[in-house]
């Protein structure tokens, strides 16, 4: 038993140290190595025809914001080159009416109403892709508010025929609502400013995130459309594109504002979905990815670490159990080292890949100050994620073992407009702080005004 525990502790330590080194390498690359061309000089010069797809299910509280922001977008409002397709997916609230009202006044908005057929993001996108006319499909979740110049920045990389998808940067706008939103803000900063940018610099696998990003229609068709059986269609598409040799570009300046979960219950459900979807991709595509002739060995290693990231949670739990066995077995020196590594690396690795070093440097790069003081509280986020992901994957492997299908895709609850009390209609639970919301939207408006003045 001691031997088995030693072996487990060793394997866990090696895996976690690998992730830790990866994070340090990313942060150092982002800070000191050559930053890869991100096509921003082409912004405004390469303007392909773009179809914006926005899946919506009961989104009456947030639908106007995203539509208004897109109508304000600094992209030629030429019907041949620009169309907005909000998709009303089985909504039972006023979403459909709102979309029709907007369409009445603006011909660029072409709502698609779905009252029959399969529900969920992937089937919705699949149906909308059929009617979309753009050579580039840009996808937004309904709670996202794109920056005014974002579309230009997202469209520019498609000038490179090898680019299959482009991902922008996501910035939370409801940061002040709760401790969780503040921690998520830190996590997002590290995940995008450092992690995604470094992976792009290093020619690894920057992730197309399924929202605030675009995909070339030809690449999508080559990769085989949106997979409705997947819970994380974004990760799946990233891997499928990579296997076929398409590049995913990451544009740090293409900023989009999102609403992050304001309470832990919503966050738990979000992590559960990501963990199961991601791990499903791991099983589906690991072999194909490793055999792909289009990927370098570095990209393959990064792909394995990317797809396997949620498996680290049960590994950490397993490692801790091994440490307990070793502790009671009188193996004092080994558990000391193992516990040391597990404590350090577990803390650094979970939470959307953002280690404390990545987060710290990203805050400084963004010009942030006081919010970095919350860094040590990320331990709560980390422990919570470890427990949640472990339980989610236990359920997932249980389902696999008994041959049961994956749980259905579920939308993350919204909090805007004080939409906080969970009433089962797919909106928020908990309470939203109107002051912080106002602050967030003011922030967005101020940014847009600033951009307008800079452009003019």
């Amino acid at each position: 038993m001691i031997f088995v525990a030693r072996a487990i502790a060793l394997v866990v330590t090696v895996v976690m140290v690998t992730y830790m080194l990866r994070h340090f390498a990313f942060a150092l690359n982002r800070l000191f190595r050559h930053q890869r061309m991100n096509y921003t000089d082409l912004a405004g010069f390469h303007l392909p025809s773009v179809s914006i797809l926005i899946p919506m299910h009961n989104e009456e509280d947030v639908a106007p914001d995203v539509l208004e922001a897109l109508l304000e977008a600094d992209y030629p409002h030429d019907p041949e080159r620009f169309e907005i397709i909000p998709i009303n997916d089985h909504s039972t609230d006023r979403t459909g009416e709102i979309l029709d009202a907007y369409a009445l006044h603006n011909p660029l908005i072409k709502p698609l109403h779905r009252q029959n057929g399969e529900r969920g993001k992937s089937p919705t996108l699949r149906e909308a892709t059929k009617i979309a006319r753009g050579e580039v499909l840009v996808i937004f979740d309904a709670d996202y508010v794109p920056g005014r110049a974002m579309l230009k920045f997202l469209a520019a990389p498609f000038a490179d025929p090898e680019v299959g998808a482009v991902m922008g940067r996501v910035v939370p706008h409801n940061v002040g609502s709760s401790l969780l939103t503040r921690l998520m803000d830190l996590e997002r900063a590290g995940g995008y400013q450092i992690n995604q940018q470094a992976r792009y610099n290093l020619n690894l696998l920057p992730q197309y995130g399924g929202t605030a990003g675009g995909v070339r229609r030809v690449a999508l068709e080559a990769a085989g459309e949106w997979d409705s059986s997947s819970l994380t269609e974004d990760t799946e598409l990233t891997v499928r594109l990579a296997i076929l040799g398409w590049k995913v570009a990451y544009i740090n300046r293409a900023e989009c504002y999102e609403e992050v979960p304001e309470n832990w219950d919503v966050r738990r459900k979000q992590i559960e979905r990501w963990a199961i979807g991601h791990t499903e991709c791991f099983h589906r595509y690991l072999g194909k990815m490793l055999r792909s002739p289009c990927l370098s060995w570095k990209a393959k290693v990064d792909g394995v670490l990317l797809l396997g990231v949620y498996l680290t949670a049960p590994l950490i739990v397993l490692g801790l159990l091994a440490c307990v066995v070793l502790f009671f077995g009188g193996q004092t020196y080994l558990p000391a080292l193992t516990a040391f590594f597990i404590a350090s690396t577990a803390y650094n690795c979970l939470g959307n890949f953002a280690s404390f070093f990545e987060i710290g440097t990203s805050v400084v790069l963004d010009g942030g100050q006081q919010r970095v003081r919350l860094l040590s509280l990320n331990i709560a986020n980390s422990i919570f994620s470890t427990a949640t992901v472990t339980l989610a994957l236990a359920k997932y492997y249980g389902r696999r073992f008994f041959g049961r299908p994956l749980p259905p895709w579920s939308k993350t609850k919204r909090f805007r407009n004080g939409n906080g009390n969970g009433n089962g209609n797919g909106n928020g639970s908990g309470t939203s702080d109107p002051t912080s919301r106002e602050r967030g939207l003011k922030f967005i408006l101020a940014r847009n005004t600033l951009r307008k003045s800079v452009t003019s």
């Binding site: 401790l179 077995g329 020196y333 350090s344 710290g360 440097t361 040590s376 331990i379």
Partner: protein, 239 residues
């Protein structure tokens, strides 16, 4: 640029120097550490005596402290009472604990339960005496003290702020590490003396290395906050 590559080498040089100093002064530091614990133990009325000598790194030794722990054969209901209390605290407070803290709080009854099962089924004694526990503690802590300068070298010294602003944090953090380590070890030994060895794994896993990383990251975040404020006053153009 808020970060400068050459400062990384500056940080590495400082880390090497700091470790050399630490190794040079380690016997004194350990002696001071031991004296602080002795004083704290006296305050807590925990009897102690000097124990055996161990080698931490080649050439550096530390004298351990011998204390005792509560004998559960005399107080057989104590471990059950602790476990029951921990379970009650967890269950009663479950709704009150902030959600992310719940898994951490769960570790308390879990660790007590595992230890109790061990004490009931495998052996009436845990595998370590308090002196052994001190030995494990010193081994782990000494390596962390030596690691701290390197963590700071990579993560903090690369910032384009004056050297004085950066170097000040290192002695502050290391001093805190010494003192906090002494406080935690005293608390652990006191707990074993009054409440018995059932608390040993909890103290080891939660109060040990995890606590170390908490304060290291806290210091890092505070240092970064100060540096970011300074950088903001320089009207730097961010990349």
């Amino acid at each position: 640029m808020p970060f400068v590559k050459s400062f990384l080498f500056q940080g590495l040089a400082v880390a090497a120097l700091a470790d050399t100093l630490l190794l040079w002064q380690m016997p004194r530091i350990l002696q001071w550490h031991s004296q602080v614990i002795q004083t704290f133990l006296d305050w807590a009325r925990v009897p102690w005596q000097m124990g055996r000598e161990i080698t931490l790194v080649p050439g550096i030794t530390a004298r351990l402290l011998q204390t005792s722990y509560l004998n559960y054969q005399e107080y057989p209901y104590y471990p059950w009472a602790f476990l029951g209390g921990a379970i009650a605290v967890f269950l009663i407070g479950y709704r009150l604990w902030p959600t992310p803290i719940r898994p951490l709080v769960f570790l308390l009854p879990a660790s007590l339960a595992i230890t109790l099962i061990y004490l009931e089924i495998v052996s009436p004694l845990v595998p370590y005496t308090p002196e052994d526990f001190c030995s494990i503690w010193y081994h782990g802590e000494a390596y962390i003290w030596l690691l701290i300068p390197w963590i700071f070298a990579v993560s903090f010294f690369t910032l384009a702020v004056p050297f004085v602003m950066k170097i000040g944090w290192l002695p502050l953090l290391i001093s805190y590490a010494f003192l906090w380590s002494a406080v935690r070890l005293t608390l652990a030994l006191t707990t074993f003396h009054y409440f018995g060895p059932i608390w040993m794994p909890f103290t080891y896993f939660i109060f040990g290395f995890l606590a170390d990383f908490m304060y290291i990251v806290t210091f890092y975040s505070l240092a970064l906050d100060r540096a970011a404020r300074w950088l903001a006053t320089r009207r730097e153009i961010w990349q």
